[in-house]
Symmetry: D3
């Protein structure tokens, strides 16, 4: 069981490639980085539990049903006062970029208080714990709540996966750096890009090319914070409709880079979360670093073909893509 801790948002997006200014309706899906990873894991056949706090109204209950539908455990979800966080997504098209408008203040999750989550009980039997840097950014209390969870993980030997995912609109660089550095010591696998490693952890890679720089930054994160592995997704945006994505993993010894996927985009939200889920999945399965990274990258690539915030795919679909020669044949 992988325990994923974070906020779930109601995502509202105009149909097709309409702009928000043109919309007379919104498609509704529920997602959030940690939940996206949990649901992708369920698709791969791994048990996962979403831990969050939802408003005690019909919107919260609709969210609960949406999570349950994909097979995640919801028995540890709290409900209470506060609203459902919302984000509006205008999907990009052609040369027009996607646009996100957040409306997440004062959510039930952001009202989480110390002691609300009984981590001893929640983490009983957990194989892994996943959170992103968004979670501690959402309130003053949340860094402490995450810290409590990490303490239990440490005492139980539960590996912690963290995607730094720094959002400057949520908190200042100073505060984010302070919090993330304090949490880093509990993290096994850190997903972070070069810029955020420098900004938040003061860790700048050296070397001529990107991979060399990343490797040196990863080594320094390991030395300074005890992180065991560092991973990262790379993305090149040709248009709003075609990107090229890949992934990088430093496994404590070697620097690995996955193949590149040139992906037409149906929905690019949540690619990184599918990558995280892929890393967790490969780790739990005991795969070697190369196989794990290729699986995670294929999961990221495949996510772009699926509507909504999270990957809907079985393990064999991801594996087939990871090992394909690039042709895409109909399956009968």
């Amino acid at each position: 069981m992988t325990v994923c801790f974070g906020e779930i948002l109601l995502r509202l997006s105009p149909p097709g490639s309409y702009r928000i200014l043109q919309a007379d309706s919104f498609e509704a899906v529920y997602g959030g980085a940690e939940t996206n990873a949990a649901l992708a894991l369920c698709g791969f056949g791994d048990p996962a539990s979403v831990v969050t706090r939802l408003p005690d109204n019909e919107i919260g209950r609709a969210c609960l049903g949406a999570v349950r539908r994909w097979g995640a455990d919801t028995s540890r979800i709290l409900t209470g006062d506060g609203r459902m966080g919302i984000y509006f997504l205008e999907k990009g098209a052609s040369l027009r970029p996607s646009k996100v408008i957040y409306d997440r203040r004062d959510s039930a999750f952001a009202r989480s208080e110390p002691g609300m989550y009984d981590w001893e009980s929640i983490l009983r039997g957990a194989d892994a714990f996943f959170f992103t840097g968004i979670t501690p950014a959402l309130s003053d209390a949340l860094p402490g709540i995450v810290g409590d969870a990490l303490a239990v993980c440490r005492s139980r030997g539960i590996p912690v996966f963290c995607d730094v995912n720094y959002r400057p609109t949520l908190w200042s660089t100073e505060r984010a750096g302070e919090v993330m550095r304090s949490l880093a010591r509990g993290i096994d696998t850190l997903i972070v890009n070069e810029e955020h490693a420098a900004l938040l952890f003061g860790v700048t890679g050296e070397g001529g090319d990107q991979e060399a720089r990343l490797e040196s930054a990863a080594r320094r994160l390991a030395e300074e914070y005890g992180v065991r592995r560092v991973a990262l997704t790379l993305r090149l945006s040709e248009s709003s409709e075609i990107n090229t994505v890949s992934g990088v993993l430093w496994d404590g010894e070697r620097m690995l880079r996955s193949r590149d996927y040139r992906v037409p985009i149906v929905d690019r939200v949540g690619g990184g979360d599918a990558f995280s889920a892929g890393l967790i999945h490969g780790t739990l399965r005991g795969w070697d670093s190369a196989r794990t990274l290729e699986f995670a990258s294929a999961a990221n690539a495949l996510k772009h073909s699926v509507h909504g915030d999270f990957l809907v795919a079985a393990e064999d679909e991801v594996s087939r893509l990871a090992s394909s020669d690039g042709t895409v044949r109909m399956i009968r």
Copy 2:
């Protein structure tokens, strides 16, 4: 020009008669009691101006376009920080009632501050001013802002229409009573039901039947608060699909009651706002009380046939219903 002052909400409702728990998309319309009245007035051919404060983002701009589409003046709308208030509407069906979930806290409108609205300029050339009891309920500052507007109306002789529309979830009876009583002296036409007249104004009608009680309550409102006219809509809910509606007007002299309309319901939100618009319209046209009331009641009835928060109908459509014999013939 009728100036209408209040909040506009983004209304999100599941398609058809789906429940929120079943919804994968939401239909989006923008409305609010005062805006609903303004847009209905535009349909009748009367100029109307919506005065509100919207967030300075794409949702706010979408709302602006929606208001403009129906012909209301939007040049006096402010934009700024804060979010768009939202409400989720689950339309009732059969024996299942409609359900509303409000998510309107911290809206750009609720962040209105004293002095933001330049009433001298806004009310230049105004024929009427309309607000509901929801407006002063939304923040501590708003009663004062409404009071400022009423002061300008008084000095210019602009008649004020107010629909009390007391919402206990927004403010306490004490606070509402205090505020509404202090505003009442500036009101020409007050729309209020028996229960709220008692609760907020301490005015209880006497007499055997409903009309007698209403008349006596209206007289007391006139005596104590200087209100010139008192009006009211009546509704009998047979099912979520059929209601019977009518209206009552005490015009300072006589108590009038409109005919009853038994209305199958397409969308019952905003019936009262259409009634208010009808009262304003008849008043501005100089119609007598009976014609004004019948028009307002027909506007209320006709609203139930129109999707969204506000009536979309021309004056002659409302008049035709007000004078019809009950048969409904196709118009070619």
Copy 3:
């Protein structure tokens, strides 16, 4: 084979009960009084042929496919210059009436010219001929073209069914009367209401109640124009959502009236055309007057449950309604 001669229009209507002013899309169906009757006949299992003239473009071809789909013969349809006639239908709801906006001028059908239709060939093997008063109203040439068809019918003994369906927006009472009177001598079964019988044929019924008046008018139509039978649908409009319909038939001897159907309305367009189809069907099957009339009235009633301009129903569905006790049970 019943040959049906008239114009087909593209009908554009807002989805659900939206008003035209609110519509961002239109549902498209193709229909016209005569075609509606033809397609209903196909549903009953009777061969029918639509004779019309369509524009030689994709809209015309889309119309052709729509007619073909329901089983009518389209091999006698002409194509050529001119446009597709259009009508916009705003479906009524609650107390709001349906509204029709015609945009049919200059259609390919209205450009029909004398001699274009080879009636000798078209009517080979025909069992019945159907047209409505709309057809000769559409151009100066069309009365003559209809007259040519009637001449061939007379020479072959093909019974002619005509629904007078007078539309004052299409032609003047004088012109309509002149034309319809000249065509009446070729008509076997005339469908006409009391008002139009008076206006166009100068035939006013006498007697106390409606049925007596209708019977006396029918007798005079028979005497003066040689019409064998006169029929009529009756409708009482309680709201845009519930009507009560029935039918009347004077079969040359007796006056018959069908049962009343109180019908909730899905789509009321084309009820009269379904009635005409029912009369034709019963006549071709050789049923007696009572059975024919009850079938025609049930077809009219059942049409109100079907989207679009024409009845989609099998003979046994209509018969089952005609003989039902009023309860409506699920069919498994």
Copy 4:
């Protein structure tokens, strides 16, 4: 935990009130009598487990997600060879009845074999067991499988609820009678109508009016088969859009009849299953017979307002209807 055993079908129905002949798409929901009851119970807050057998393909997995969404336990669902049973539903409208076309042969469930279901384990901790007469009708093996379940129920004292729901298209009266009589001895609460009681159990009520006849039939079912309670829903079909429904319960002593609900219909499928769920719910809550029956009848009535095969409603929504005075007010 209530264990519900039966087949789930993929239901395909044209959008709105379109006929199948007009449909270009089908709305898809998953349902089946026993599953409908389970999901309604989840809505009431009762744990429920669906026991069935699904095809091991994406349709089966989609069904699994649909059941999970509403909160039922799916951990005891088997998967294997065979197809997903389908039924096409054309919703009635106006005077046109609903129509169902079954395409359920050779389903994965119908391929259930003796011994596949480990009832000892499945029924561990169960509070109630529910099945309908459809389940044993679906194969030669299923009566025995149901019998195995009843045996375990008897040994554990788990009360069994059975809705006879005889479908002559699935099996002959002889076979159905033989099977149902053999199963009846294990049933605590039998839901059966007068006609099926006579056909399958040879039990004919006596007495002047319906209630007297039902009571006498119920007494005989109790005497002859050891059934403790007998219940029934009544329905009067005014049109496809309005029915009047109620319920009857003989609780071993008294004959009770619930109030009548006149219900406009959104979707009438599954009303009986909601009634069954209501009976189970009241029984598990320990309510008295009157309260249980009123709750069950209100659940049946409320189901008509909800799209799909099963009731989506919380306990308090049903209770509110059961105790309402008939007016339906918006809930804010």
Copy 5:
């Protein structure tokens, strides 16, 4: 008239690029290899007749209407017991392949019995006969029924087109080889790929490159089975959204290869059937091999731009593409 013999399936596919696991509705179209070719021929202006067997229910009748809509003759279609075969299509997107789930067992067509089809009458006046290898795979009786048709074709000199289209899920290689070899002697134009030529006909091409191998395989098919022409489509799948397609034709003398089309994909189902229709069309028109092949390849390419199972295009649209320079200009 080209007679096309085979099964029609109801295809159900999620809207847009949704996955089946996400679908709440399915778009419905009717198609099957032979019917697809027939409807494409109708678009080209060639008469075509679909010969099949449909269930005698509303689904079968809906299918009949769908075929009729596009202009094919349906007068030779049988109806009877059995169900409508179904297939679920999940359209691929980006790097995610399309997926098909068949649910076609026990269909009305698969229940076809010897003697049911009166080939003497059906093939009266036929110009060509088309079937694919799917047809004889569907039951034990169908190879014989196809053989009966081929016998009549031979006696009348009607050219037979056959697309081998081997589906290993429908029958074994042994059985398929045996049947297809026995039918091959009646075939004029055989559409088969290299792999299936080897598997079923034991014919392996020799030579260095693909075209040489195909030519040698074609020559051997001609020698051993008397086939006059051999054709083939080639496809390179860059992603689920872009393929490159072309075609090859050995006309008894020369090996021809069409230009390549790089096609963005709207719907790739039925490309091969459009190719077959193009071959038939060119042959019936008497075009030379090069023109015929280019037309067939353009038809294949153009099919990818059209939703559903079959090409909707006029002859001139295909010809324009076949002779275009690659730029695609708006047509006004």
Copy 6:
């Protein structure tokens, strides 16, 4: 305020990439070259006024609302007899070109008569005037009406922008040339391609490459007709889904060419009108030629990402594209 004079059409297009022959509904938007430019200007923050003549019915009023929604002034729009012009748009896909069917004859705008438009009043305070060559093509009276407007522009010094946009289906080359030459003397900025410059103005460029030829043609247009600037969009159509667009501007001194944009296409209608709006915007802002041209070309490119006839984008969105390095990043 930019005054834009021309016809607005109701555009009806099948959903998604359906063909007209497959359509059961049409998406409705309102547009026309001049209105498209006006609405794009409103998006950029420039006031714009649409001057046209609409039918006095619900379709005309719906159009009015659509224009108002985007912020254009509609106070100078006339209403009267005549119909709404319509065009059907089948969007291309893959290798299938877009197709337009016009149905615009006899529109309210085409019935415009001399003197109907009070240009002195309409152009009060105008900064620019825009029309296209479609406007004078629509009736015999319209060239004179345009001429009247140009005369007022000249007397007031209002710069005139004209996109020649020659449509041979609307008028003959002779008539178009005669009219456009007579109007050219009043035009400041002429948008015209090489072919139309030759056809209508008899101006053929000389020189080896395209730019040299265009420059020489532009110089001759300036010399002969007094035009100050000449501009042009270029387009290369790779498929119906990808085009490459750019723009050219001769500013009286230099020939400038914008960067190329390779644009995946959502909706290509109105690209040229967005380009015109961009030219007007840059000119009114007082930008230099290079910046103006790059903005106009980016507006053209960005239009391809937006559904409907006109660009919906803010100035900063266009500027960001104009100065981007080609990567398209999500905006949070």
